[in-house]
Subunit: 154 residues, 2 copies
Amino acid sequence: MSQAQKLVQYFLSHRNVTVELINKIEEKHYDYKPTPTSMSAKDLATHILFSFYKFANTAKHGDPALFTEKIEETETNLQKLAQTYTEKTKQLLESLTNEDFERVLDLTNVFGAKIPTAQFLQMAMDHEIHHKGQLFVYVREMGHTDLPLFVKRG
Amino acid sequence: MSQAQKLVQYFLSHRNVTVELINKIEEKHYDYKPTPTSMSAKDLATHILFSFYKFANTAKHGDPALFTEKIEETETNLQKLAQTYTEKTKQLLESLTNEDFERVLDLTNVFGAKIPTAQFLQMAMDHEIHHKGQLFVYVREMGHTDLPLFVKRG
């Protein structure tokens, strides 16, 4: 299996769970926040989806500027966003070449360091897993008790 | 940097945040649960600490049986547990040799598969990050609003 294929498998083993959780969020709960200073469910879900897309886009094109670019998106349905951005992200990850993985990205402006692409993509995974962990608590607080395991291996 | 040193650095970049969160949990909140079906704060914190220790112990000794062994522990103070188990886990990770990393662990009984040690240790990281994400929500719900970033790079 190529490095890209392994990464796609690893990505989906967590992303499919993220999508399963997002699919449980009804529109009436989009503005749900556990506390007044928390991100809303809508903001948390969107943040997860947009972030990994930006990590992948930055890695594919070797362009750190893409990481901080704002995503203009008119779709507001979380289920549709989850489907679209998972597909776009998967396609980017699938297209990564060995050369892409070996590039070092100058992310001094964002993280104060130059980061090898492989490590940058692990940070993308960690970011997804972290916020998905939070989403589990949110979704349980919305009344769902039948929740998946935190990772689904192929 | 050796593979073990890199792993210790990666482990601590997340574990130090876990410990910072655990240090915010006052005894009166040990039994706090966001919902009746959630793990209590005490159970969640203990699960994080014991789990990584068991991952590391299993990896170090190449013995899958260590993964499911129950930990007998009389200490109930979460701050003390965090300190002790972080130290024990760090020592195990530091001691990993290249040979240890190359071993394949037969975890058919637990995960239905044989898993290379390096991948098994990434699962340990993912597990920590997932539950730490949940802990962030818990601690915010206890009234703390000044929370660290989800990872602290050295």
